[in-house]
Amino acid sequence: MNVIETSGLGKSYGRVPALRDCTLALPAGRAAALVGPNGAGKSTLMNMLVGLTIPTAGSAAVLGGQPAGSAAALDGIGFVAQDAPVYKSLSCADMLHLTRNLNRRFDQQYAEARLAELGIPLKKKAGKLSGGQQAQLALTLALARRPRLLILDEPLAALDPLARQDFLGTVMTALADGVSVLLSSHALAELERVADYFIVLASGEVRLAGDADDLLAGHRMLTGPAAEADRIAGQHSVVEVRRAAAQAHVLVRISGPAEPVPPGWEAHPVGLEELILAYLRAPGGAAQPGPAAALRPEPTEVAR
């Protein structure tokens, strides 16, 4: 089952496109990271998935085909918007009370136990909590609804390192219990530990999407003489070429680990951060969206 499925999804504000032709399929049981620069369309995509924004093109479905925004879809989604909004003048107990009455399903026992574990007093006003505690409160409210899909928009932005660790620990525990996760963030190093699926957005387009291990196995960095860089680049599906006077690094997509290395060149595996940054830098036309394109099985010119 796919917890998220979009097809040609797009949103324009007037003539300004915020997201274009977004086609994704996220399998259940994964923690997917949504990465990209500010204004790339991350929040737009998330808001459309939870029905807060109406698409101007294409379609979005969640939790195995439920139309995004439908009652059945919303019932199974826990969403924490950017800046973890809580009603500042309400006490934590009142926040629980409110959320319980606004939802069909709410696990009061879990919510209270979780807040106690975190040392967050029920009587305290939400606005008086630290940034990390407010984020944990918002996450607790979302999880107490027993969602099957958790969507978190930049949940780490306002958190100190310890709060980040605690917050992500809670999210990963939910994942271990079978909740699928989609979260956006700029914290690539942290995402590498928690996410097993990556979706890279830039300028309103999906630049790359796929399982983390598949993405790493599907790329390599070729290093060799700059004079041959163009010839090598011509023989491969290239993501990015970085060239100095003598030496060049060419990031290429490969069909498998057995693909031969051009003579005189070295091949190195790439890291996720390196890979994502290269896709973000690459101009839109150069990158192919999706692992299917990146990992296509037919041999490249070199292999023939």
Binding site: M1, V3, A28, G29, R30, A31, D107, Q109, Y110, A113, R114, E117, L143, A144, R146, P147, R148, R164, Q165, D166, L168, G169, T170, V171, M172, T173, A174, L175, A176, D177, G178, V179, S180, A189, E190, R193, V194, A195, D196
Partner: protein, 186 residues
């Protein structure tokens, strides 16, 4: 692959999720406080090591086995506890535990967790891997000739007995690099 139930959590348990074992999320939330003895070890992560996270966990278990911090029958840290403490993906922990199972060092018990099943104090894991590989090769050829599982077990047991009988059984237990623990091997 089993996610340990131990402490109360969110999540109704989505069906068909690879991260949730058959029994995860099914029962009512339990109170804090895990059953049984806690694991004798705790993992740490070294982000600067360049070693993949799952491999760091595998290496830390092997290290603890060599140094005797872990003994057969001991429980490895529960997946849920590890992901909560280190904020890492549960599939990473499962991958590490699967690797330890493949190496014959640990075994999963459905609904309980993963337990140490062998000791490494006499070490030489590469040799064990080599032996395992040659045994797998032998098993493949045995199957090819038409032996079924029972036939293979019978043949192996018979040859094993002959082998030690001929030596008079003197060094019967001296050769094993990894000693399986009968209780943990259940």
């Amino acid at each position: 692959m089993t996610i340990d139930k131990g402490i109360s959590t969110a999540g109704a348990g989505a069906a068909g999720s690879p991260a949730s074992g058959g029994d995860a999320g099914g029962g009512p939330p339990r109170g804090t406080g895990a059953r049984g003895a806690p694991s004798p070890i705790e993992y740490r992560l070294d982000p600067a090591s360049g070693v993949p996270t799952y491999l760091q966990l595998v290496q830390q278990v092997e290290h603890a086995l060599r140094l005797g911090y872990l003994k057969p029958g001991d429980q490895l840290p529960k997946v849920r506890d590890v992901v909560a403490a280190l904020a890492i993906n549960p599939n990473t922990v499962l991958k590490a535990y699967k690797e330890l199972e493949t190496k014959g060092l640990a075994a999963g018990r459905p609904g309980q967790g993963t337990f140490v099943q062998a000791t490494l104090t006499q070490v030489a894991l590469p040799e064990l891997t080599g032996l395992r590989r040659s045994l797998l090769g032998w098993l493949a050829s045995a199957e090819e000739t038409g032996l079924d599982e029972d036939g293979i077990v019978a043949l192996f047991t018979s040859v094993l007995r002959d082998f030690y009988d001929r030596r008079g059984g003197a060094d019967r237990h001296a050769g094993g690099d990894v000693r399986a623990d009968s209780e943990g091997a259940a």
